[in-house]
């Protein structure tokens, strides 16, 4: 496997799971855009350009997976708060199930091939 391809695969995987990571961050409480982006940016290897989160949030909004409300801020302009919609919650649950299955399968395969090599 070429290093470039490998990097591309990681980018693609990250892009695939990022929307659900955003939904997961909204599972228990609503957050405003800047706060969300900061928290996601702090997760290792999750976000390359913080600015690309905003188009993603807009898409989640258009798809009805998140709902938004404007709230006044004491320190600056009004903030747009995001929270999960019922559809978003459903989508997140569904993804979590698929993700666990995939992760367990891959983990098993990776561990299995290791044992074969050394056993």
């Amino acid at each position: 496997m070429v290093a470039g391809e490998d990097g591309n695969l990681v980018v693609q995987m990250r892009r695939g799971v990022l929307p659900y990571c955003v939904l997961a961050m909204l599972r228990d409480k609503e957050r405003y855009g800047f706060e969300l982006v900061q928290s996601l940016g702090a997760v290792d290897g999750m976000v390359t350009g913080e600015g690309t989160i905003y188009p993603l949030l807009a898409r989640l909004r258009r798809q009805g997976l998140v709902e938004t409300t404007w709230q006044e801020s004491t320190t600056g302009p009004p903030r747009r708060y995001y929270r999960l919609s019922p559809g978003g919650r459903e989508s997140l649950t569904e993804f979590a199930r698929s993700w666990r299955r995939l992760r367990d399968s891959v983990d098993d395969l990776l561990a299995g091939s290791g044992e074969e090599t050394y056993g």
């Binding site: 995987m13 800047f34 350009g49 600015g51 905003y54 798809q63 997976l65 320190t75 747009r80 995939l102």
Partner: protein, 231 residues
Amino acid sequence: VDTNDDKLVADYLGRLRAAASRLPTGRRDDLIGEIATHIAEARAAGPAEASEYPAHVRNVLERLGDPEDIVRAADQPAGAFDSYAAAATAAAPSDRAGPGAGLGALEISAIVLLLLGGFLAGIGWLAGVVLLWLSPRWRTGDKVLGTLVWPGGLLVPGVILAVVTAAQDGPRQMGPTHLAVVLIFVLFAMLGPILVAIRLVRHARRQPAQGTPDQLAPAGLRDAVPAEHGV
């Protein structure tokens, strides 16, 4: 130092605005507003040490990334996630279009009312037009066509046909040539709304087609990793 920061921010937003010119107006303004707010929030939060100030704004902009990348993210065609999410929301009870059928109760009511609503004191056709414009399944072109061909749907040709038929029994009977002309006119007048209705049915069905593979296997594992970029 502060004016230099302002210039950096203005340059950045200028590049974003230029890159975003290809987006639809609503989305473009929204995106630029969000990024501008982000920068304002980050600047207000500020760095912990005053000595870090000169580098702070540059750091904020660097972390945001290239404006071109941001716009590309806003511009992306529907990928695996979109159809996956669309399948999930289509199944949600809040969705009025129903589970991915494309032709929900709203669309069927709209088409039936456009065709026959004219006979319900004319109001029915108006209701059909309202439903037509409410549905997310049709583009504006289809909506305009559905509204203009013809106002009243089958009402006008229907009434003409009824009047002509009734007149044939009475003293004001028409000659065969005259009658043929009227009947051909009625036929064409009927054909319009019927062809438009067929077009509306087909276009409403076409929309959800992109989500179909995922709907077949919503929990499918391959959805988690974009297949087209596999090793």
